[in-house]
C-alpha cells in the first residue's frame, strides 16, 4: 500500500509520535491549523500566488533568509518585502533544526540572545513553535515558504503549516542526498510521504499548500537530467499523497542553451510523467535557482552572476527565480545585501519582461538529448521497481542508476563525475552506473574530447576541479592556467 495515498488513521497514529519530538509539538491541532489557514487572505497563499503568476506569464522573485530570533526574523523579512520588493518570502531554517537537533538549536537561540546577533544560520521554527511562527506570518503581506534541507521534516511541517506557512520546500531524495550523511534513503522517503500526506490533508480540506522539491541538489555541476529525474520522482510521490500545487526546480548550470532547454524539458517531461501516472488535477510551475555553486567574492562580480541568473531564468520562462546575494561567497547576507540581490534580479527580469527568446533547432536538439537521458534513467528506475517508481528509488540509488555528483550521503553511489564541455554545457565524464544508451555516452565523450583537445590536455579529474572553481574565478569553463 505504500505507493498510494497513506490511510488517514495510519497517518494520525504516526503523527502522535511525531509531535512528541519537541515540546512545541503538543500545541499542534490539525483542525485548528486548518482553520487558521482558512482565516488567511488569499494574497498570502503561496499556491494561488504561483498559479496567478504563471497564468500572467510572470516570473516571481524570492530570496533566502532566516535568523535565530523572532523579532529579528520579522524585521528581516519585512525589509525584503518592502525594500527588496520580494514577491514571495522565505523562512530559511537553521542547520541544527534540519538535523532535528532541537537542543542545539535552543542553545543557538540563547547564545544569539546574549550575543545580540544571530549565531544560527537560519530560523529555528520548531523551537519557536506555533505562536512564534504565527507572529512571523501575521507581520507580513506576502506568502511565506519554509526552505530548509531536512531529511525528517515531519515536525517542522506540522508546526509551520499550522502556523500559516503556505509552501514547503524539499523531498525525500532532494533533502537527503545533498544535505545528510547517514540517513537511509528509505527513511527520508517515508518521512516525506508524511509531509506530503499532511499537505494532502490541507488540500482535501480546501487549503492549497505549495510543494517544491529541491532541484539544485548539490548545486555543483549537476547535469540537467539528474535534477529532472529526481524532480519528477518527488513530484509523483507528492501527487500520490494528495499534493496539488507543485513547483519543480532547477539550478542554473551557466550555459544559456542548456539552461533554457532544461527548463523546457523539465516542464514537458513532468507533465508527461504525471499524466501517465494518472494525475490531471494538479498545478505545475517551475523555479529557476540562480547559480548554486561557488560564487566570486568580489561583489561586482557577484552582481554579474546574479543578473545572468535572473536573465536566463526569465528567458527560460521559469515561474519563479530564487535569488542570490552579493555576499554569497562570504557568509549569510545582511538584509541590505539580500535586498540588492532582489533589486538587481528584478531589474533584469523586467527589462526582459516583454522579450521572447527565439528557441530554434539548437535548443530543440538539447531538449531532445535531455529528454532521452531522463527517459532512459526513468525506465530503468521503473524496471527496478517492477513497474512502480516508488519501489525503484532505493535500488536505483544503491546501484548508481541515479547518482548525484559530490553528494555527502553514503546512500548515494558517488561515481558519476560531471565536466563542462568546450561550450560550457555540463556533460558527464564518468557515468558510474547511470543508465543511458551508448549513443548518448558517445555524444558526451565526443564533446569532452573536443574540450580536452582545445586545452591541450587529456580529459582528467583536474578538469572537474577546475570547473568547480571556474565561476568563482570569473570563468564558466575551468581552463588550465
Amino acid at each position: 500500500m505504500k505507493n498510494t495515498k497513506q490511510n488517514f488513521d495510519e497517518f494520525m497514529m504516526e503523527r502522535s509520535d511525531v509531535l512528541k519530538a519537541w515540546s512545541t509539538g503538543k500545541d499542534v491541532i490539525l483542525e485548528e491549523g486548518l482553520a487558521y489557514q482558512k482565516s488567511l487572505d488569499d494574497s498570502r497563499n503561496f499556491a494561488s500566488t504561483m498559479k496567478a503568476a504563471s497564468r500572467r506569464g510572470d516570473t516571481l522573485i524570492q530570496p533566502r533568509a532566516g535568523v535565530a530570533l523572532i523579532d529579528e526574523h520579522i524585521s528581516l523579512l519585512k525589509y525584503l518585502e518592502n525594500e527588496g520588493g520580494a514577491d514571495l518570502l522565505p523562512t530559511t531554517i537553521d542547520a541544527y533544526t534540519r538535523q532535528n537537533r532541537y537542543n542545539e538549536a535552543q542553545s543557538g537561540i540563547e547564545k544569539s540572545y546574549s550575543a545580540g546577533t544571530s549565531l544560527l544560520n537560519g530560523f529555528p521554527a520548531v523551537n519557536h513553535g506555533i505562536a512564534g511562527c504565527r507572529r512571523v506570518i501575521e507581520s507580513l503581506k506576502k506568502p511565506v515558504q519554509v526552505r530548509h534541507g531536512t531529511p525528517d521534516a515531519r515536525l517542522l511541517a506540522e508546526i509551520s503549516l499550522a502556523s500559516g506557512f503556505t509552501s514547503f520546500e524539499g523531498g525525500g531524495i532532494s533533502y537527503n542526498i545533498p544535505y545528510a550523511k547517514k540517513v537511509p534513503l528509505e527513511k527520508s522517503i517515508e518521512y516525506w510521504k508524511y509531509v506530503d500526506r499532511l499537505v494532502g490533508y490541507y488540500e482535501d480540506n480546501g487549503v492549497s499548500i505549495n510543494r517544491e522539491p529541491f532541484g539544485p541538489l548539490t548545486g555543483t555541476l549537476v547535469p540537467p537530467f539528474i535534477s529532472i529525474v529526481i524532480g519528477i520522482i518527488e513530484g509523483i510521490l507528492a501527487l500520490r499523497q494528495g499534493v496539488k500545487s507543485i513547483t519543480l526546480g532547477y539550478g542554473q548550470g551557466g550555459n544559456l542553451v542548456q539552461d533554457v532547454s532544461a527548463i523546457i524539458a523539465l516542464r514537458e517531461l513532468a507533465d508527461e510523467y504525471f499524466q501517465s501516472e494518472g494525475f490531471t488535477d494538479y498545478h505545475l510551475t517551475t523555479v529557476f535557482h540562480q547559480w548554486m555553486g561557488g560564487f566570486p567574492e568580489n561583489e561586482a562580480k557577484a552582481f554579474s552572476v546574479i543578473t545572468w541568473g535572473a536573465t536566463v531564468g526569465r528567458l527560460a520562462g521559469a515561474d519563479k527565480i530564487i535569488v542570490k546575494t552579493p555576499h554569497e561567497a562570504m557568509g549569510i547576507p545582511t538584509r541590505e545585501a539580500n535586498a540588492q540581490g532582489l533589486l538587481a534580479s528584478r531589474q533584469a527580469i523586467s527589462m526582459l519582461y516583454e522579450q521572447k527568446l527565439p528557441v530554434g533547432p539548437t535548443y530543440r536538439r538539447e531538449i531532445d538529448l535531455i529528454k532521452s537521458e531522463v527517459n532512459s534513467v526513468m525506465n530503468r528506475v521503473l524496471e527496478l521497481g517492477a513497474g512502480d517508481i516508488d519501489d525503484g528509488i532505493v535500488p536505483a540509488f544503491k546501484f548508481g542508476v541515479i547518482d548525484v555528483p559530490f553528494a555527502p550521503a553514503v546512500c548515494n553511489y558517488g561515481k558519476l563525475l560531471p565536466m563542462r564541455d568546450n561550450e560550457g554545457f555540463i556533460r558527464v565524464y564518468n557515468w558510474g552506473n547511470t543508465h543511458v544508451s551508448e549513443e548518448i555516452k558517445e555524444l558526451h565523450r565526443a564533446k569532452l574530447e573536443l574540450r580536452a583537445h582545445s586545452e591541450g590536455r587529456n580529459v582528467c579529474f583536474q578538469m572537474v576541479t577546475d570547473d568547480i572553481y571556474a565561476i568563482s574565478k570569473g570563468k564558466l569553463v575551468g581552463r588550465p592556467r
Binding site: R98, E104, L119, K181, G293, A329, G331, P408
Partner: protein, 137 residues
C-alpha cells in the same frame, strides 16, 4: 609514526561536501595520506581518527556558519586525549555573515587553532605552510 598524514573533515552538522572533496584530492596528489571523514564530523570522531592514524594535522572545515559554536573546545579535547602537539588547521566560512577575515582569524587562533584559512585560500600556500609546520621541508 608518519606525520605526513592528514585527518580531514567537515565539522558539526555541516553538509558542504564539495570543498572537502577538493581538499582530499589536492593533498593526496601532494603525497599525503588523507583520512577523509567526510561531512558532519564530531570533535570526537576527529580525535579518534587522529589517534588511530598518528596523523600530524587535523584539518577542520566549517562552511555553514555554525563554526564558532562547533569548533570551540577541540584543542582542549585533544590535550585531554594526549594529542599534545597535533596541528589544528581550520578553514571555510567560519562565522555567520560577511566578516573581515582578520577578526575571524583572531577568534579561531584564540580557540587554539594553529592556522586559520579563508575560503579563497590558495591551497599551494596551505601546503607550504604545512611543510613548514610539520617540519617536512
Amino acid at each position: 609514526m608518519d606525520r605526513k598524514q592528514i585527518v580531514l573533515g567537515v565539522i558539526g552538522f555541516d553538509c558542504h561536501s564539495v570543498g572537502n572533496r577538493i581538499l582530499d584530492y589536492f593533498f593526496t596528489e601532494k603525497g599525503y595520506k588523507v583520512h577523509n571523514l567526510g561531512v558532519m564530523v564530531s570533535q570526537e570522531e576527529f580525535i579518534d581518527a587522529a589517534q588511530e592514524t598518528g596523523a600530524g594535522v587535523i584539518m577542520v572545515s566549517s562552511l555553514y556558519g555554525h563554526g564558532e559554536i562547533d569548533c570551540e573546545g577541540l584543542r582542549d579535547k585533544c590535550i585531554e586525549r594526549g594529542l599534545d602537539d597535533i596541528l589544528l588547521y581550520v578553514g571555510g566560512n567560519l562565522v555567520v555573515g560577511k566578516t573581515p577575515f582578520k577578526s575571524v582569524e583572531t577568534k579561531f587562533l584564540k580557540m587554539g587553532y594553529d592556522r586559520v584559512f579563508s575560503p579563497d585560500t590558495d591551497l599551494e600556500v596551505v601546503n607550504n605552510l604545512l611543510i613548514e609546520d610539520l617540519k617536512l621541508g
